[in-house]
Amino acid sequence: MSAQESVVSISGLGKVFPKGGVTALENIDLGVQPGEFISLIGPSGCGKSTLLRIIGDLTQPTSGEVLVNGKPAPQARLDRDYGIVFQAAVLFDWRTVAKNIALPLELLKWDRAKRDARVSEMLDLVELNDFGSHYPWQLSGGMQQRVSIARALSFSPALLLMDEPFGALDEMTRERLNLELLSIWAETKSTVIFVTHSISEAVFLSTRVVVMSPRPGRIAGVVEIALAQPRGVRTREEPRFFELVTEVREMLHAVETEAELPE
């Protein structure tokens, strides 16, 4: 697992928040290979979102090293090596759907024709062809989140960071978007790091699930998800799927009881 071939390589990472000296993360080591789909899961306060934000250089670690595409995280951000999707779609109200997707392309100074071509490709990818000239508030929550995914993928970053992207959606929409995300992942061959609260979502989507423990945030264990690709509606009904969900759930329960002991 050398740094050269890893998309993300984290070693000895720690994060202490200056306010009150809370240790959010301690001793994190993690390598992510090209094409992997990694889920970070854990109880609230385990620092999974913080870890994602450190990879994106949106928060600075207090110790340790983060390499993205072999470069330090700040350099990777400057090189626009990743796209990010938040829990809320964070679309700009004053831009149409098409213009929202084009935002990073504008910042990268693509010319107009190239931008338009890419935007229509992206609208295709997330199946929103008819909605390019709509404003975000005219769309449902699930559609908004698809726009946000299209925006993150518009400049073809090698790495996609997703911070509970479907957390605010209803169960049906969530399952549909899970399937859609998997097909986009297969099509674009990108690497995904995905933060979630949902065990079944993590197992269904990932190639590996990273279980984290709270106070301080540590990696408690990693579960390989050896379910066949491509996955579909039937995958959720396989016995192997239930076994893996149970495995992750038990690991999480162990982590939670441990965390509750001192109090």
């Binding site: 949106l58 951000r77 400057l78 990010i84 809320a88 964070v90 700009f92 004053w94 504008e106 910042l107």
Partner: protein
């Protein structure tokens, strides 16, 4: 389109209602001879037909019609107000952007910018307008109307500054993170995110300022002997009120029309320029 027609229809109904109320009140008090709260006669409440008629009478013998005089006066005042509005907006926006950029400056200045709203700023108008008259910078003395514009600018500047700061800071923190994930600099964040986020706030300030700059221009004309505008006309007709009350009433109606026009221009510009979810627009 149907909406527009409906609005215009209701608008006409409101106008007719106000006229009917005025005439009804007048006739009732004239008929009964009631004198409370004030005595009603042709001087205190001139009849509507006499006000409209006065518009098409010459002001002096063989002089120009009142309506044409008032129209010119309104344009003059509009020029003062508009120039003041532009100056006030430029200064206010620049100051607001600087304050929003520097946290320390904000803590130092914002309490006073907000606190200044408790000061009757309009009261300063005569001092500033008269005072500026004796000002000469390198041989240049500001012209009369420009001194009045300073009052309008002053009244525009406060709401614009406050709302620029609020608006620029209203940008969604997650959207700022998104921009940072694209390695955007402060300038790109300002242009693509903060500025568009601030537009509804800016227009909120413009609505206040559109009204305030007209008031500032009218009041600014009072103390100085500036004759060309509506304020001058009000002072002028006020002196002959007992002889010709309808002239002052007509002037005030023109002032009201000017104020509402300024306001409507802003409202229409906002409708055209700002695309926001309908429920967040008030």
């Amino acid at each position: 389109m149907i909406n527009v027609i409906k609005r215009v229809a209701i608008g006409i109904a409101v106008l007719v209602g106000v006229c009917a109320f005025y005439t009804g009140y007048r006739e009732l008090f004239l008929a009964t001879g009631w004198t409370w709260p004030f005595e009603v006669d042709d001087i205190t409440l001139p009849s509507l037909p006499s006000i409209v008629g006065a518009l098409f009478d010459p002001v002096q013998e063989d002089g120009e019609l009142l309506i044409s005089l008032l129209f010119k006066a309104a344009l003059f005042t509009a020029k003062e107000a508009f120039v003041g509005f532009v100056i006030g907006t430029i200064v206010g926006f620049t100051l607001g952007a600087v304050i929003a950029r520097f946290q320390m400056l904000q803590r130092g200045l914002m309490p006073y910018v907000v606190g200044s709203q408790t000061i009757p700023i309009l009261a300063i108008a005569p001092i500033v307008v008269v005072g500026l008259g004796s000002l000469t910078i390198a041989g240049w003395t500001p012209s009369d109307w420009l001194r009045v514009s300073v009052i309008s600018a002053y009244l525009t500047f406060f709401p614009v500054t406050v709302n620029t700061v609020r608006g620029l800071e209203s940008a969604d923190p997650r959207a700022i993170e998104l921009m940072r994930s694209y390695a955007s600099g402060e300038w790109a964040i300002f242009l693509k995110l903060r500025l568009p986020s601030s537009l509804p706030y800016l227009f909120g300030a413009f609505r206040i300022a559109a009204t305030a700059c007209v008031i500032g221009a009218i009041i600014g004309e009072l103390p100085s002997s500036i004759q060309g505008g509506l304020g001058g006309a009000i002072i002028n007709f006020n002196q002959y009120y007992v002889l010709n009350p309808q002239n002052l009433w007509a002037t005030n109606l023109m002032a009201a029309a000017l104020g509402i026009s300024f306001f409507l221009v802003i409202v229409i510009a906002e409708k055209l320029l700002v695309h926001r979810p309908p429920e967040t627009l008030t």
